[in-house]
Point group: C2
Chain length 353, copies 2
Amino acid sequence: MSSSGPQAGSKVAFAPILVADIGGTNARFALITDYCSSSNAFAIDHQHTFPSCEFKSFEDAVDAYLSQVNAISITRACLAVAGPVKGEEVTLTNLGWQFNVNQLKARFGFANLQVINDFAAFAYAAPYLNERDNICVKQGIAQAHANIAVFGPGTGFGAACLVRSQGQQAVMSCEAGHISLAPVTELDRQLHNVLREDLQHVSVENVFAGPGIARLYRAMAKVHGKQVEDIDAAQIAALAENKQCMIADRTLNHFCDWLGSVAGDIALSFGALGGVFIGGGILPRMQQRLLNSRFNERFIAKGVMSQYNSQIPVTLVCQEHIPFIGAAACIHQGYQSVSQMGSPTGSPTGQGD
Amino acid sequence: MSSSGPQAGSKVAFAPILVADIGGTNARFALITDYCSSSNAFAIDHQHTFPSCEFKSFEDAVDAYLSQVNAISITRACLAVAGPVKGEEVTLTNLGWQFNVNQLKARFGFANLQVINDFAAFAYAAPYLNERDNICVKQGIAQAHANIAVFGPGTGFGAACLVRSQGQQAVMSCEAGHISLAPVTELDRQLHNVLREDLQHVSVENVFAGPGIARLYRAMAKVHGKQVEDIDAAQIAALAENKQCMIADRTLNHFCDWLGSVAGDIALSFGALGGVFIGGGILPRMQQRLLNSRFNERFIAKGVMSQYNSQIPVTLVCQEHIPFIGAAACIHQGYQSVSQMGSPTGSPTGQGD
């Protein structure tokens, strides 16, 4: 990657950005105070992790953090939250936390406060990821300044897109995990037929998420005429790893195979010539299975668009601190895009430069 | 719709924007010189249409137009072309025209020149459409400053999204017509099984486009155990309108029904709480059939996301000059987004304000 900043290779210091990664278990905070163009990385300082359950409200958690970094005055903040963000009112259902963005701004004296969901943060982070920390699933050539798709199976199936065109950029948050799941192969169709016995609507997330693995396992057993116990994804993974259960092994292999078709559709739907990045909690734990699977073959098998998808690189993201990086990028790029208006992108360096 | 410009209700004049709509048959040109905030409309002046085949190159067509509007100096232009736009080199295969964006800028002295595809233009145009000229397919409440999805079956199946978030906006061009088609109902599955006999990959566009109607007609006949002749979409439409062929009638009804599921997936994939707009050459000619179909029912039938899709309005766009409006908006909004940075959107009025 090349750098395009005015001081290539050097650190650009700026007023600190408060970043937070708010999940059901932990509330993580950090300060971002500079971006280094030679490493294309933000410096993440003053990290603190608090158990979310220690606080009655989000404001209390921010107070606890700010008391740790007392000397530093902060006017810009971006919070990545594991849950949907709709307008000014943010509700974190798991924690019973609720806040209004404008009231939070006033309370802490933030001039700029953004609240984004965790997959939006992933999309903002994508141009700043470090190749060495992540795993190449499919080789390809990322087009500079083109759209980047991110998705990941975890508790649910999240997805988002960093859209870049006509010198503008914006992150598209979406509900792509809830679209109707398309069967492609004969085995897909057999599994789909079993899945729809129990589901009014068979969505991508019904299969490509933790609970979906258990559902796919039961469907796989039925297709093979086998009886299986009602076990969860972790138990299925253990059975598969120990070669104790052919159905578990086939389930996880087919999970990776079919995900290739789903990922190929995401690449097409988002016009992701800038690359596809996979996150979520499930796949980093089954890297080798993913790499040995038919993921790439099925990613490309899109008729007249096979050539289009062939060129797109797919990366499995294992790097830490993605929500911090994305939150920093959200603020930093919004700031930059004013000064860089008219250039192909507001991002300091495009993926694949 | 309310207006939010500094001179609400008044015309805002600006330096003329040259807009063009370049198709295989016609090259259309116009000048946009003002935006009226009370009507939320651009004035389209000096329209000229030339048969594309009259010119050996795109430059010749621009020369012909500029000779008609000699007195006006033009420094900004946006061209909407029916075909993919990749980087600086633009090729219009049907016409044998090819040009380089930077060379075109230099040749005509344009300070700003954008080349966008026709569905990107449709997405840029969406916030400026006139409710009275278009048809409400599904009622709903468009969220202000949220993403807007556009798509349309025609010669192919085009789609794009106007993405608006964190005070930024950008248009996502994509290949969503080429994703794998998901069967949802039992009849979908039967048709899908027939379609895959002839197709390596059954995509959305394989059904939801002109040639797709003929394909769906043959599949519908096979599912019903009937023999039919190999006729095209226009012939099928004529048979259906005259009630001469039950298979033709069912084909077009099912086209509208199944399209509801596809449109619902597009709304989810693009997080289109700002609304869905349908264009393309096919549906404006079968409005009544679309309105009588199960489109809305299937648009909403998305399991846990049914409530999400319920709120999204769907509009069939019959209004003229969409490429001109979109081309004007592309230039006008890009300019505005610098001055309005930090506001929820760079668009003068958000859809659903």
